[in-house]
Symmetry: C2
Subunit: 301 residues, 2 copies
């Protein structure tokens, strides 16, 4: 079983073609729905009393919700606008609401969970939850510009405790104070000691650094991208879900490589439709493995 800790949000998504208001989103929703294609996934998150029942049912169809806490008040809200190319997003408004000061707890039903994904939450909250896992087999954390700027030492402290860290190229550059991604990875891994560092490059795919090696995964090419929201979370969720599905006694590099393939594939489903719809529509197992085969056969050899 995999535990996913992160935000559940009501998003306003503005693309040049459409504006959607109060749609179900948040890093944990994307990661958990993506992960659930591969393994049993339990959510740890907080929502307000305003979360529509329909959205709760959507999450419940894919993840165990024993760790979904409802608190008086409003659900976390994010409002952002994409530019014409859909590659640059400008934040219009962020309302933490019930997320503010949330102290995550681990339900007893998650006791068998050996895989932990800590989304881009407050690194101290992530650390607090991670400490509740006695014997996690594999843990991965994400981060975000805001925490790197305001709680850098906690971000590093968290990475010292996880098996893997995942972040965007811009976040890696900010954390390392360096442009070149190979040097960024070296610096970040030296400072934090994190064994596996995955740097996501949006449509250009992702890099995974470990030991003295690198895995370079190009992006899955699509003709139609409508909404990039949650692509990175879907990527991370798919990686963790795949690893949990293998449940190897020890984490093997070959499993992590395969996890990156599914990360790219699920990221590609995520961006083809608005909000969570792309991931929700990628239910058929054949669709996922079919795309994974198409993806790996596109590499030159």
């Amino acid at each position: 079983m995999l535990t996913v800790f992160g935000s559940v949000a009501l998003d306003t998504i503005r693309t040049p073609k459409r504006t959607l208001k109060d749609v179900l989103g948040g890093a944990a929703s994307y990661a958990a729905v993506s992960a659930s294609r591969f393994a049993k996934t339990g959510l740890v998150a907080v929502v307000g009393t305003d979360l529509p029942e329909r959205d709760r049912r959507t999450l419940g169809r894919h993840a165990v919700l024993d760790g979904l806490v409802t608190r008086p008040g409003k659900t976390f809200r994010y409002d952002g606008r994409y530019d014409r190319t859909l590659s640059v997003r400008t934040t219009i408004k962020t309302e933490l609401n019930v997320l503010d000061g949330f102290r995550p707890t681990l339900p007893g039903t998650y006791a068998s969970s050996r895989y932990v994904y800590l989304a881009n939450n407050d690194p101290d909250q992530n650390l607090a939850l991670l400490e509740k896992f006695g014997r996690a087999r594999f843990s991965m954390c994400d981060t975000i510009d805001f925490w790197i700027k305001t709680k850098r030492s906690s971000v590093i402290k968290l990475m010292k405790r996880t098996d893997a860290a995942i972040m965007n190229d811009s976040e890696a550059r900010l954390l390392a104070g360096e442009d070149n991604l190979a040097r960024c990875a070296k610096k970040i891994r030296r400072e934090s000691g994190v064994p596996f560092l995955i740097i996501k490059k949006g449509e250009h795919g992702a890099l995974m650094f470990y030991k003295q090696k690198v895995v370079a995964a190009p992006g899955y090419l699509l003709e139609k991208v409508v909404d990039p929201t949650g692509a990175g979370d879907a990527f991370a969720g798919a990686m963790m879900g795949y690893l949990a599905s293998q449940d190897s006694g020890v984490i093997r590099v070959r499993d992590l490589k395969r996890a990156m393939i599914f990360g790219n594939v699920m990221g590609s489903f995520a961006v083809e439709r608005y909000g969570l719809d792309g991931l929700l529509g990628a239910g058929r197992k054949g669709a996922i493995t079919g795309r994974a085969d198409k993806y790996t056969s596109s590499f030159p050899h």
Copy 2:
């Protein structure tokens, strides 16, 4: 044998760390030196009487120079400055000099050449040279923003006649009037009918489109990039050199995929040192195949 037609230049390269004046460069120099690692390469180009004897000797050590014409006047000059990230170049000055109105001819010694690379020259000049090849086995052309803006129909006309076209992502977007690269490729291939279209994405690698398929090659990751000048020309030159070295009766997709690997590898050598030095230093065959192996083993599988 491979024929490379393009510019030989004296470049001024300005990076945040160094400024080099009047260094040997130009698309044909990079492409030919890169290609010469794989196959016999003949140059078709024009220089002025000011080209230093040392530079001519450098070219002559790697390429057949029977097609290198010397005309009264000055050699083509390019002056450009890279930004801090080395990913954006601003042109300071371009002096066509002897390049202006050059009519390429094909020396008799190139008669056995069955492979033709037409760099980002005036598309009408490229067409004129291509017509002199009776039975080219494989031809590839490059282009550049300037020709797309000023001679778009000639660019398309040229692509109707070549087996492959190669260009940057920004050039593909300009030519297609479209952001999404998969859709760009579809439009460009539909309009020109070119069987193989390669779109280069700088450090992010390259895509090759053919039939209904795509090959996605990530970039070769480097810790140290000092000068991106000529990387794309080295990429194209290596592709053509590799294809010429195979000299298959018919062009096979698997040869083109392998050519992309060597394209990325030679591009990586090109950017590690200033000007042509990176390519000139990549002489040892073992260094090239070693890097090719390291590159292909970095793909997830």
